[in-house]
Symmetry: C2
Subunit: 280 residues, 2 copies
């Protein structure tokens, strides 16, 4: 009589999943089971830990509703969202500006605005800031009519979409087109660090693992141009707290920029972007 072992059980489950009709789903599910079983085996997961895991996942699902996605927060805080972004959007030739995650606060169809105009529609404090730069292709040629779609939080820490009764819906976001020199420029206020929602299972997990819930201050950007691979990224403020411990692992060295005082008292953030040309 052959006794079942962990290894034989894992292979039985993997074999059973061989019946999956879709080849890609079969590959993903078999790899998932191998890694899930390897994890449990490596740590010799106890009955109590297994049950704690079941309860954590259940509470995470039950925290989700139309405006709260606790599983995405979990993915973000375990670095999985950033890893999936890297897998799918990193430029292996290292020519393009680095990407980072989209985040939960993107709203499509931001208003078109003129270069050098302001995205501030509601006065709520904050340091006046000019953000400007050049969008270039991977040969260094400036790109005219590239679209620079930006959004960030107010000095209070909140995005407009989080405060529908306070901020105008289009506050602190807008779309710009680069000029004939590839330049974009907008006026705004300095972004500030903010906590991700911490009143659910993910907040408890952060506390239990000795971590905080803060993101470093940043401005989101989606940049696109005809014939080029679009880019989703942030520009981080070098003076921000939490650059070394951004709770969703969104910071990359190359995305950190200086916000320096300009002649008129505003801060100036110069940030150039490189897009890679699409393969013909």
């Amino acid at each position: 009589m052959i006794r079942t072992t962990g290894a034989s059980l894992t292979e039985e489950v993997v074999s059973r999943l061989g019946s999956t009709p879709d080849p890609r789903m079969r590959e993903v599910m078999q790899a998932l089971v191998r890694h899930l079983h390897a994890f449990a085996t490596e740590v010799q997961l106890t009955d109590a830990e297994w049950l704690a895991g079941i309860r954590f996942l259940t509470a995470t699902g039950q925290m989700c509703d139309d405006v709260r996605q606790e599983f995405i927060l979990l993915s973000d805080t375990l670095g999985l969202s950033s890893l999936v972004d890297l897998i799918n959007h990193s430029d292996v030739e290292a020519l393009a500006t680095e990407t980072t995650i989209l985040g939960p606060f993107y709203v499509p169809e931001s208003p078109w605005r003129e270069n050098a105009s302001s995205i501030v529609e509601f006065e709520d404090g904050g340091e006046a800031t000019i953000v400007r730069g050049v969008v270039r292709d991977d040969r260094g040629t400036p790109i005219r009519d590239a679209i620079v779609d930006v959004w960030h939080n107010a000095a209070t820490g909140f995005y407009a979409v989080q405060q529908p009764e306070v901020q105008p819906a289009t506050n602190l976001r807008g779309r710009f087109r680069t000029n004939e020199d590839g330049r974009y420029e907008f006026l705004t206020v300095r972004p500030v660090p903010y906590p991700i929602p911490n009143d659910g299972p993910v907040g408890r997990l952060l506390r239990d693992t000795g971590r905080h819930e803060w993101r470093a201050a940043h401005i989101h950007m989606k940049v696109s141009a005809d014939g080029h691979i679009p880019l989703t990224t942030h520009v981080f403020d070098r003076a921000s707290d939490f650059l070394d411990s951004d709770t969703v692992f969104g910071v990359k060295d190359s995305l950190i920029a200086d916000f320096v005082p300009g002649d008129d008292g505003s801060l100036i953030c110069e940030y150039d972007i490189t897009l890679v040309r699409e393969a013909k």
Copy 2:
């Protein structure tokens, strides 16, 4: 400027989790992140697949309520529950009867019954069956006053706990004590295969992976005796369908027994149990 890679990101997350105060939680979380990232990297998980996973986990959590635990079903059907059972309850010296999962239908405090009495409290069809055997220790010595706690489903496929308005609450379950020869015996009906709940995300996953939702016919047993390591197992009917494809991976070769016709027309299932003595 050093660009972030998948490997450097994984190590950053693992390093960040080094702040976890509890050493065991630190070990478990760091291993979890390494395996989660290794999975996503190995299959080069796409944005769309990541989002499908987020949605699946969310729906699984939202399917759970006081009587339905969809994440346990998920764990069961991915073989994780059986693996955790093996990790925690397999007898490395291979002396004891093999274990298998408890399952969701166990109810504590079943009625005490006399050996050779019936656990059938409600006539609903099924083949009359005698289940009997000897409980021994790992030297082969019969154990007197061992407790054999049994439960199984009716010929309709349902456990009493699933049909509170149809079956008496204590139907098809009971506790027996072995006699001076280590023997237990009870009268019942033959168990039948049954489907796990298939109207949720786990049912969809089974269908998408070309699998069915059936468990092979079995009788659950919890067996304990003073001075011995308690055991949770099943005895499976060798004539059952689905022995090779039990959807929760509960079947082990050594747990399959014959249900053979006896002189009085009842089936007889002889099933002996071995408990290992506790270390002094």
